[in-house]
């Protein structure tokens, strides 16, 4: 099973990289962009086949290491 973890700064926490990318897109004349948020994606290949167990395990990984929940939110997508 594959787990795709998307990590981004929480809403309300200023995303300076997102802002810089937004500026760059503006200067390239991409006018239709209202907001940009930059995050990171971590792809895990898991031996676990049970989806519920896999999700629980990846949640623990996010809480302890993959995300800093003081400033970041995470989202887990499982693909079997």
């Amino acid at each position: 099973m594959k787990a795709i973890v998307n990590i981004s700064l929480k809403a309300g926490v200023l995303d300076s990289q997102g802002k810089a990318v937004h500026h760059a897109l503006d200067s390239l004349k991409f006018d239709g962009v209202d907001d940009v948020r930059v995050g990171k994606q971590i792809v895990l290949k898991l031996s676990e086949t049970d989806e519920a167990k896999a999700r629980e395990e990846v949640e623990q990984m996010c809480e302890s290491l993959l995300a800093n929940t003081v400033i970041e939110d995470y989202d887990i997508e499982l693909i079997s």
């Binding site: 700064l9 926490v13 200023l14 300076s16 990289q17 810089a20 290491l65 993959l66 800093n68 003081v70 400033i71």
Partner: protein
């Protein structure tokens, strides 16, 4: 305190370990370097310093991997028992990642690495670190970081002020707020509620000689020696 014993933690990538050793030896302390793979350190240590630089290439987030180093279990236990811990720069990041200090350190607001002298203002001196300094006293200390943008939510920030946990703020030479990295309330250093764990982004250990720009770090670190 005579013959104070200072332990200095080294991770792969730490580069302020010897400056920190120099600083505390200049203050008359006995110092010992502690390798991150060690699981214990001298229980008679009076102050444990997590020095600046990098740790494990700072993959994922600064301090995120270092937090799980073998030595960190001993550091956690030491801090829980009231032992004094000081985290400088990357050490501050390790302490917030370990949840020994509240908040988090984000990428600098303008995304630049900063390396320069900056003035700081003493906000609280009701702690062992800054007890010898006056409130609003201004010091000139080098900063050198990419991820020094201190973040904390509003409610926790209120608590920091109520408990006098805000130690230092970035300011200009007149003491007016001047924020180099986007930190909430221009905060440069904090301590925990119990006031035995301290963290700051600026480098007092690099301000020990007037000929090198400032010796204000001497007066700051001297606080740990007590009366």
């Amino acid at each position: 305190m005579k013959d104070m014993k200072v332990g200095i933690v080294q991770f792969p990538g730490t580069n302020c370990d010897y400056d920190t050793q120099y600083a505390f030896e200049k203050l008359g302390c006995k110092t010992k370097l502690i390798w991150h793979k060690d699981e214990i350190f001298d229980k008679n240590t009076d102050l444990l310093v997590i020095a600046g630089g990098f740790s494990y290439g700072d993959y994922l987030r600064s301090g995120a991997i270092a937090r799980f180093s073998p030595i960190m279990s001993a550091v956690n236990k030491y801090a829980e028992n009231g032992g004094k811990v000081l985290g400088i720069c990357n050490g501050f990041q390790v302490l917030t990642e370990s949840r020994l200090l509240p908040g988090a350190l984000k990428r600098n607001e303008h995304l630049h690495f900063l390396s320069k002298h900056h003035h700081l203002k003493v906000v609280s001196n009701s702690n062992d670190f800054l007890s010898k300094m006056r409130r609003d006293e201004i010091v000139n200390i080098p900063i050198a970081h990419h991820d020094g943008n201190f973040y904390i939510d509003d409610e926790s920030l209120k608590k920091l002020y109520e408990n006098e946990q805000v130690l230092l703020q970035y300011c200009d030479e007149n003491g007016d707020i001047s924020n180099p990295n986007g930190s909430v309330d221009s905060i440069a250093g904090i301590c925990n509620k119990q006031k035995n764990v301290f963290g700051l982004m600026p480098h007092p250990e690099r301000a020990m000689e007037e000929v090198l720009g400032s010796d204000d770090g001497y007066r700051m670190l001297e606080g740990f020696l007590g009366k």
